[in-house]
């Protein structure tokens, strides 16, 4: 039974579109593992880049890194990260960086949430 007192965590399906991801790798588990590894190399690095760029008011770098993060998350069908990165990118395009720094911790926690889901996906499929 779900605990009603716990804060409402988004359902897994809102974090990761498993079907689409499996379709995109054509059911190839080796390829899936490979791109998951690539993502967890890329994504934290890009968030760090965004953070550093925002601290230095370096808009072009922040924008480019947000765009890349959106692309990488999109490829993995990591819906929440892709949506956050897209919002950040669109703020950046309009030069409205005001609340941009709050995106970084949100992205960090979304990346942390995604990790076990992708791990389960690979294990489940491999079993």
């Amino acid at each position: 039974m779900p605990n009603a007192a716990a804060p409402a965590a988004p359902p897994d399906a809102e974090i990761l579109d498993r079907e689409m991801l499996l379709h995109r790798v054509g059911g190839d588990l080796e390829l899936l593992s490979e791109i998951i590894d690539l993502f967890f190399e890329e994504a934290p690095r890009l968030v760090a880049e965004i953070r550093a760029a925002l601290a230095q008011n370096d808009s072009p770098t922040a924008l480019r890194s947000a765009h890349r993060l959106r692309g990488a998350a999109g490829d993995l069908s990591a819906l929440r990260i892709a949506a956050l990165a897209a919002q950040l990118e669109s703020r950046g395009r309009q030069g409205q960086w005001g609340d941009a720094p709050v995106f970084c911790p949100a992205l960090d926690s979304e990346i942390a949430r995604l990790r076990p889901l992708l791990g389960t996906l690979v294990r489940k499929k491999a079993a």
Binding site: H23, V25, D28, E42, A72, D75
Partner: protein, 203 residues
């Protein structure tokens, strides 16, 4: 058929590479516009299909597309641009720069496959047409050899060629066209010949 891809995102590049190989295309994967441009100079036979990311550091997809279109040796080529969802103006600019089609990222494998198949159809049609044009040019050249002013002898009907040699009309035409003669005698000549034979025999 060979496809060149250019994308600076390692995940997209890996996914593209793997999908295309799975669909039996030969893949040349490059990391950015500069590397793609170098690969195009290096490959002896330029790839007929190209999948280029729009946003890349250095030479971006649109600039690469323009360069390809300005290089006759790389034609014909079918170019698909990868664009981010929601950048409608990019699509217009990309098509105006010479792209044939675009696919939005993250790409849906079914859509990408179908769009690449369109490209393959277009390229095959181009090759067939190019072969036909070549055949027709050859035929036209042969016809041209029989055009213009031909010097002919009023008495023996021999034809003088460019090297000042005189040829029998049959051999000249045979040599300068696809025509071969089958020999016979027309009714008029047949009558004349009959008359000559009868005179000689003293009838």
């Amino acid at each position: 058929m060979r496809i060149l891809i250019a994308d600076d995102d390692p995940i997209t590049r890996r996914l593209l590479e793997s999908s295309l190989a799975q669909w039996d295309y030969e893949v040349t994967a490059t990391r950015d516009g500069q590397q793609a441009w170098q690969a195009l100079q290096r490959l002896g036979t330029p790839p007929p299909l190209l999948v280029l990311d729009w946003l890349m550091p250095g030479i971006d997809g649109v600039e690469l597309c323009r360069r390809i279109r300005q290089t006759p040796d790389l034609q014909p080529a079918y170019v698909i641009l990868l664009t981010s969802r929601g950048h409608r103006q990019d699509v217009v600019e990309g098509l105006e720069a010479g792209a044939d089609d675009y696919v939005t990222k993250p790409f849906n494998p079914d859509e990408l496959r179908a769009r690449i198949q369109v490209g393959v159809r277009v390229m095959k049609l181009q090759w067939i047409l190019a072969d036909r044009v070549k055949d027709l040019e050859g035929a036209l050249q042969r016809v041209n050899q029989l055009q213009g002013l031909l010097p002919i002898c009023c008495y023996c009907k021999k034809i003088r060629d460019d090297g000042n040699y005189w040829h029998q009309v049959e051999s000249y035409i045979e040599e300068h066209s696809g025509v071969h003669f089958s020999r016979g005698v027309c009714p008029e000549c047949m009558e004349k010949m009959k008359g000559q034979v009868e005179t000689a025999a003293g009838f």
